[in-house]
């Protein structure tokens, strides 16, 4: 009976998601499989449930520093997977570009695989996070198509990876091994993060409760008022100012009796605050050998120390495992979660969202009362950001020795809703309302069949074939509305009378609506084989064929192989050696196809809506009629766009000595990302801004190193230390169409050079007099900057090609925006019932362009422009950079002396941070709990986070730099956090 139920459920589920003709294929398929299954199946060993299911959902981790010490990490109030992993995995680089809780964050495994020009380029380089084998769907960058400014994506823009509570996590591993990634397929082309949650298990009912309470500490800043700014500008006016310039002196600095600007600058008391954070969670497991479950629920509040930012998260997880028959295991999981985010109140972000820049003549005042009145007006605003997530799987496993069959249905759904309303008082007399609802949805069906055979003594064979279908859908609806009748009506009201001509048309607001959808599928097959000889050698190989609906019809399928060899050197050569407890060598190679996140490449030459221009991307049509044309501004898409792919090679050693007290692993890797797309220039006379060229290739070479040691192992004193280290170097190996170099905006790519270089002028000082400007002896003309003669007060930029014209040909490639060395060092000490641990993370060798300083010095152009860069935020009323550092150039000069792209603004952004210090005390063995058998564990701890940063960077924090290496000063402080927590297991 149970069998029948199982069958019905499974077939029902499969057929729901397949919509295929089962009957028609029956005669064709049955024979083939029946041959395989006519084996005797009675002998099924009685394995424990939890280990059986989870084992299939766990991958093989090779290096020492490839998995996270979850127990240690759980003592810090980390919100997102990125934060948990930061500095703890060799070769995984996490940089928090803002301390605002829940903002989007990135992870880069083993270097950039493509250049990052703007924020949406980072999306396609993220590794995929698997939760119990469910590949989590990411946000799609296609919303940027309708955005005028790319600072934040529209919608809640919440980090989807902030939804997983670490208390429910059993392990987190970074999968970097090429062969292991190849088995996961195109989803894992950028690497994979493999999370297994705590599992349902049989046995006595287990209850665990964890909770912490803490504070984030307000930053310590030096606020300034207009007097400081006035003093700052004085030398420029004294040196270069004309009568006219004095007349045009900016309004808010003119009146030194104005309390708003020249009064006490106490805005910081309202902006930076000590804020409480908390979390409480509960896990419950129990059940029998045949059926068991786990429930987990948690509530968390995380907060930033600035601008009242915070995130509240509620999550729940439920797992059930069943073994209705000795050879059938069914397991399922459902995680649901919700995140509500309070975002910052930056003017820039608001103006970017509203696409409307009011007059910026008078900035926010540093006076606490004036700032408070601004905040009071802001209280009338609505800024709701809600993200809900649901993910899970349903898996059936049939263990029919020597066959195993696993079939899984995975789903992941995340939905973001944002409602925003800004009153007239904040928006120069007109108000703004917008609403966004978007979802990402993934269904995936995996089937795998494996077969194990011992062909002779010491020779073992393993085969596996598998297949999967993945269906992804991204969709959003967005509407923004301007200039409503008043600030009390915060939603778009439409005419309700069906007899009226404007029935269902907005009354009051001016409304714009947008909607877009991408639907794609991925279809995969693979077959793999493994041969092992004793415990000495293992060879495995895998071949897969992936079809993506986002690829062009002629190149829809991509066949890719991978292979792996593992050699146990210890057993081969050092069997009797007492020093070495383990020594293994691994060589692994794979090719994995990479899918496109956008569906526009599948179509080839195409026609699109293209009515707008850079500053007005969303104008709907001409004379009210939709316009469709070639994609002139976004770029020509031709035929012959093939799958991009990544070739990876690993050579690794893994060993342990001194009775496993010291273990280490070293992996050399070479990662070649090839045939990627990039916009290459076309002659402007074609009408196209660019064309998508296939053939960008980037190579990353590096070394992952992990060392772990039990340095002291005494009864009452214990010291464990772990170190991880990565060295990475990237290089552009090819550009499309055989190009040697490519200029994209302010960046230049050159074959043979790293892709993360800055392209800048070399600044060599200042021309103090016109006579100092070199004169071309041939033409008798003075040195020019792109045709404009340089004068006294202009910077001395180096004329590298000696043609007496400074232009882009004189720019050099310098610095790297990505670090060369990254890693971390963690230590744990235990003394009796006490323990102490600390964690240091570091990133060395990256540089940043200080845009914040550039804009401060370029105040003449910045203030006159009245564009998005002219916005002066409240936090600009503080001392940020060393004023004596830069020369006093003529800010009115038309060569723009304080332009960002010069080495004057290039700074070293290397850092080391003391990220966490924890002191804990184990109560379990104290007299308090002694003898109370109901309590398995009781533990209290105090943790301090982000306590210390060592850096030479002049900005507030070397981590708060955009992905492209530009420091805008916009990242919110990563706060010092102190928490007190308790863990109890019953």
């Amino acid at each position: 009976m149970i069998r029948i139920i199982v069958v019905i459920i499974y077939v029902a589920l499969l057929s729901t998601f397949s919509s295929t003709k089962v009957q028609a294929e029956a005669s064709y398929t049955t024979l083939h499989y029946s041959m395989l299954f006519r084996q005797d199946t009675d002998d099924t060993s009685q394995k424990k449930l939890d280990t059986m299911v989870i084992a299939d959902r766990r991958s093989m981790v090779k290096g020492i520093a490839d998995s996270l010490n979850v127990k240690l990490s759980a003592l810090s109030p980390n919100l997102s997977v990125q934060q948990m992993l930061k500095g703890n995995i060799a070769g995984l680089y996490v940089q928090e570009t803002s301390g605002e809780p829940g903002t989007e964050q990135s992870m880069i495994i083993r270097g950039l695989s493509a250049p990052v020009f703007n924020k949406n380029d980072i999306y396609s380089q993220q590794p995929t996070v698997y939760v119990n084998g469910v590949p989590m769907i990411r946000d799609n960058p296609f919303v940027f198509d309708i955005q005028k400014y790319g600072f934040n994506r529209i919608g809640p823009a919440t980090n989807l990876l902030a939804g997983i509570d670490i208390s429910n996590i059993n392990s987190i591993e970074a999968i970097k091994d090429p062969a292991a990634l190849a088995k996961l397929g195109p989803n894992a082309a950028n690497g994979a993060i493999w999370i297994t949650t705590k599992a349902a298990k049989s046995g006595r009912r287990d209850l665990s409760v964890n909770s912490y309470f803490g504070m984030v500490q307000a930053s310590n800043i030096s606020p300034i008022n207009a007097q400081y700014e006035n003093q700052f500008r004085k030398p420029f006016y004294q040196k270069y100012g004309t009568q006219d310039d004095y007349l045009n002196y900016v309004g808010y600095l003119r009146d030194s009796t104005s309390l708003d600007y020249y009064g006490p600058a106490k805005w910081g008391d309202r902006y930076y605050k000590n804020t409480p954070i908390y979390s409480v969670d509960l896990g419950l497991t129990g059940g029998s050998e045949r059926a068991n479950f786990r429930f987990f629920g948690s509530a968390t509040r995380n907060a930033g120390n600035s601008d009242d930012t915070d995130l509240k998260r509620y999550s729940m997880s439920f797992q059930v495992n069943m073994a209705p028959l000795s050879w059938v295991t069914i397991s399922s999981m459902v995680n649901v979660g919700r995140m509500d985010r309070d975002r910052n109140r930056n003017l820039r972000d608001r103006f970017a969202e509203t696409r409307y820049i009011p007059d910026l003549y008078n900035p926010l005042s540093p006076n606490i009362n004036t700032y408070q009145s601004f905040l009071n007006e802001y209280d009338k605003a609505i800024d709701d950001n809600r993200t809900t997530q649901a993910q899970g799987y349903f898996a059936v496993k049939l263990d029919l020795k020597p066959f195993k069959f696993v079939s899984t249905l995975n789903f992941d759904y995340s939905e973001g809703v944002r409602d925003a309303f800004f009153p007239t008082t904040l928006m120069e007399g007109n108000n703004f309302s917008s609403s966004y609802i978007g979802y990402n949805q993934r269904f995936m069906i995996n089937n795998a069949l494996s077969y194990t055979k011992d062909i002779a003594e010491n020779h073992n064979l393993y085969f596996e074939v598998g297949q999967s279908v993945q269906d992804d859908r991204y969709r959003y609806n967005y509407a923004n509305a301007y200039n409503g009748p008043n600030d009390f009506i915060k939603v778009n009201v439409v005419e309700g009378d069906p007899d009226k001509g404007n029935y269902l048309k907005p009354v009051g607001y001016l409304v714009y609506r947008y909607t877009d959808q991408i639907h794609s599928r991925l279809f995969s097959f693979y077959a793999s084989a493994r041969y092992s000889y004793k415990d000495l050698l293992t060879f495995s190989a895998l071949i897969r064929d992936d079809g993506s609906s986002n690829s062009q019809p002629g190149n829809r399928w991509f066949v890719s192989p991978s292979a792996n060899a593992s050699w146990n050197l210890k057993n081969q050569f050092l069997k009797d050696n007492n020093l070495f407890n383990k020594l293994r060598m691994d060589v692994s190679w794979s090719r994995i196809g990479k899918t496109f996140s956008d569906d526009k490449f599948a179509a080839g030459p195409q026609y699109r809506v293209n009515a707008g221009w850079t500053l007005e991307p969303t104008i709907p049509g001409y004379n009210g009629i939709a316009t469709i044309s070639r994609p002139y501004s976004s770029g020509w898409v031709g035929y012959d766009i093939k799958w991009p792919y990544t070739d990876q090679l690993n050579i690794g050693f893994d060993g342990a000595i001194l009775k496993n007290r010291l273990s280490a692993s070293a992996t050399f890797y070479k990662k070649d990302d090839k045939r990627m797309l990039i916009n290459t220039p076309l002659p402007a006379e074609t009408g196209f801004a660019s064309q998508y060229g296939s053939g960008l290739a980037v190579r990353n070479i590096g070394l992952d190193l992990g060392v772990q040691g039990h340095i002291i192992m005494k009864d009452n004193f214990n010291w464990q230390s772990g170190l991880n280290f990565n060295f990475n170097k990237n290089k552009l190996t090819a550009l499309p169409n055989g190009l040697d170099e490519l200029i994209v905006g302010d960046r230049k790519l050159k074959v043979g050079e790293p892709i993360d270089r800055f392209w800048i002028y070399e600044n060599q000082g200042i021309y103090n007099a016109n006579s100092e400007v070199p004169v071309n002896p041939k033409t008798n003309k003075a040195l020019t900057f792109e045709g404009t003669t340089l004068k006294a007060g202009d910077p001395k930029w180096k004329d590298n090609n000696g043609d007496f014209v400074i232009n882009s040909e004189d720019k050099i490639l310098a610095g790297n925006s990505m670090p060369k060395f990254t890693g971390g060092w963690s230590n744990q000490f235990r003394y009796g019932k006490f323990d102490l641990s600390f964690n240091i993370v570091y990133a060395i060798g990256q540089k940043a362009l200080n845009q914040s300083a550039s804009l401060q010095y370029d105040f003449i152009n910045r203030e006159a422009a009245n564009d998005i860069n002219s916005v002066r935020e409240i936090f600009s009323w503080q001392v940020t950079s060393d004023l004596s550092k830069y020369a006093i150039y003529n800010p009115w000069s038309s060569v723009v002396p304080y332009r960002l792209e010069q080495d004057m603004f290039l700074e070293n952004a290397s850092y080391a941070k003391l990220r966490a210090v924890t002191v804990g005390f184990d109560l379990t063995k104290t007299s308090l709990f002694k003898g109370k058998s109901s309590i398995k564990k009781a533990y209290v701890y105090v943790t301090g986070n982000n306590l210390l940063t060592v850096t030479s960077f002049s900005g507030s924090d070397p981590e708060l730099i955009e992905y492209n290496g530009i420091y805008s000063g916009y990242g919110l402080a990563i706060p010092r956090t102190y928490t007190l927590g308790i863990k109890v297991d019953l």
């Binding site: 069958v7 397949s18 919509s19 089962v22 294929e25 029956a26 064709y28 049955t30 024979l31 499989y33 199946t41 696409r355 003549y361 007239t424 007399g429 007109n430 279908v469 301007y482 200039n483 877009d516 639907h519 279809f523 526009k600 599948a602 179509a603 030459p605 195409q606 699109r608 293209n610 221009w613 500053l615 007005e616 709907p620 049509g621 001409y622 004379n623 009210g624 009629i625 939709a626 316009t627 469709i628 044309s629 070639r630 002139y632 501004s633 076309l682 002659p683 402007a684 006379e685 074609t686 009408g687 196209f688 045709g787 882009s808 152009n861 006159a864 422009a865 038309s894 060569v895 723009v896």
Partner: protein, 513 residues
């Protein structure tokens, strides 16, 4: 089907069903992977129906509008260089006013690119090449409709070439779409480019109607793409529009005989296109001729608020408007009081003068005349013609030409050709309609200067000032500095770096090297 089943029947049945289902998934995978994107139209699905021609033709107009509107380039090219406006604080605008076009501001690089015009040209060429496919495929697409469409595409392409020649001089002449095959082309002499444009316009003018969507029109009777004349007025190229461009092409090359012929056609036939002179009120009201659609817009690219096309960028207002009309304190560009006084000498001029009763300055063209920075308020079309300055988005059309402009051009041509009386009559029509005193002929009358002075007043802020100065100096032939600028081709703009980098057959204009 289950013939192979052995002892464990139940077990196998389970597996069979299971595996069959699994296999069923695989077989349909080919279809599964064909997902048509909802975000674009594929090559093989396009040029099949009259919706494709409609959206393709409208895209040509839309692209032309983008080319002129992006960064407010229409005015940056035509109005401000050496013009009547002064930049208040923006350095990039200051250098444009000074004509220092090599200066290194991002804005100058952006507007020195001609790519957007070639998008118009490419789209028009593609339309001309592909529209016949629709004629075959869709019976709703009629022969007259097709002819009118192609004529518009040809006229727009010619217009784009003329517009570019005024900015850059010699430009590459490309007359086919070369769809998908990209090659580099060098620059063609501007006389050849203009000869091509002229011949195209003459051919197109034959097929272009006076009015779109009108009952009983000879060329195109009835609705046009399902809409009547109300929808199309002012939005599309008419026969009159084509002749207006022809007139300008001739005048630009100092072919004033041709110019007089072409303008004569316009002046004799504008009534057929329902065009008329505009009153001062219509010219300067927020909901006047710059707002929405009007027959008086002989060539215009609209931002009709009715269709949600109001924008911030793409309007002269973005540069020149300020308090009290909108909440901005200072405009980026303004006309100084001295300039106003020297341009508007006739105090009875309704555009700007002194009110005879109150003695106060008239506010049709300028408000805040009392302050140091007067605000140029001739064009002030806040959203849909409203006057609410809280929300500074604009709906003003980019009017390339209107009847007054053509009348003055005709007066210019006639004056050059020596037909002074006719010229003065035309000039006086304009002057009087603005409340001014007429000009009378006499030995001391510098008619050319009078005409150009009137153009300066009438067309202020409409993107003509720079080109007018070029024609004026060519006719007068006495300003040595300006003539040198013309001879050295300094009247043209430099070509953007990106454009030069992407095509090695191009060389920078000598003057800007």
């Amino acid at each position: 089907m289950i013939s192979f089943v052995n002892k464990n029947i139940q077990f196998n049945r389970t597996l069979i069903i299971l595996l069959v289902t699994v296999m069923g998934l695989n077989v349909s995978c080919k279809k599964v992977l064909d997902i048509d994107s909802s975000r674009l139209s594929k090559e093989d699905d396009h040029w099949k129906s009259f919706q494709d021609t409609r959206s393709g033709l409208m895209a040509t107009y839309g692209l032309m509008r983008s080319a002129l509107a992006d960064n407010n380039a229409h005015w940056l090219w035509g109005e401000f260089r050496n013009g009547d406006f002064t930049a208040s604080s923006r350095s990039d605008l200051k250098v444009i006013v000074k004509g220092d076009l090599n200066a290194s501001f991002p804005l100058l690089q952006k507007i020195a690119s001609w790519r957007a015009f070639y998008a118009v040209i490419n789209n028009a060429s593609l339309f001309i090449e592909r529209a016949p496919e629709v004629l075959k495929a869709d019976i709703r697409y009629t022969e007259p409709n097709y002819k009118v469409d192609v004529a518009q595409a040809r006229a727009l392409r010619a217009f784009a070439y003329f517009y570019m020649v005024r900015i850059w001089g010699d430009v590459p002449l490309i007359t086919a779409s070369h769809d998908g095959s990209f090659e580099m082309k060098g620059r063609t002499e501007q006389s050849k480019v203009l000869a091509f444009a002229e011949s195209e316009l003459i051919a197109a003018a034959k097929d272009l109607p006076y009015v779109y969507g009108a009952e009983g029109d000879d060329l195109l009777p009835g609705l046009y793409y399902g809409y009547d004349f109300e929808r199309w007025k002012g939005a599309l190229f008419t026969k009159i529009s084509a002749y207006a461009v022809l007139s300008h092409i001739a005048a630009w090359q100092s072919h004033y005989i041709d110019a007089s012929v072409y303008t004569e056609f316009v002046m004799n036939n504008y009534a057929k296109a329902n065009a008329a002179y505009s009153t001062t009120l219509e010219l300067t009201a927020a909901d006047g001729i710059f707002n929405a659609q009007s027959y008086n817009q002989i060539i215009a690219f609209g931002f009709n608020d009715l269709y949600g096309e109001s924008t911030v960028n793409g309007h002269v207002e973005q540069l020149v408007l300020a308090a009290p009309l909108i909440s901005r304190e200072t405009p980026d560009l303004y006309v100084t009081k001295d300039t106003i006084a020297s341009v508007f000498k006739d105090l009875s001029d309704q555009r700007f003068g002194l009110d005879t009763i109150s003695g106060l300055p008239r506010t049709n063209y300028f408000v805040n005349y009392g302050s140091a920075i007067p605000v140029f308020s001739k064009i002030k079309v806040l959203r849909g013609g409203s006057t609410n300055g809280d929300f500074a988005v604009y709906s003003s059309s980019i009017i390339f030409t209107r009847l007054e402009e053509i009348a003055l051009l005709r007066a210019e041509a006639l004056a050059v050709l020596g037909q002074r009386i006719d010229a003065i009559n035309l000039l006086n029509i304009i002057k009087k309609s603005r409340g001014g005193k007429g000009v009378s002929d006499g030995p001391g009358t510098d008619l050319i200067s009078e005409i150009f002075a009137e153009r300066r007043r009438e067309l202020m802020g409409e993107g003509w000032r720079w080109y007018d100065q070029i024609r004026y100096n060519k006719i007068q032939n006495d300003n040595q500095d300006f003539l040198a600028l013309i001879n050295q081709k300094g009247i043209y703009w430099p070509i953007a770096k990106d454009v030069l980098n992407a095509n090695n057959k191009l060389v920078q204009n000598n003057y800007w090297k």
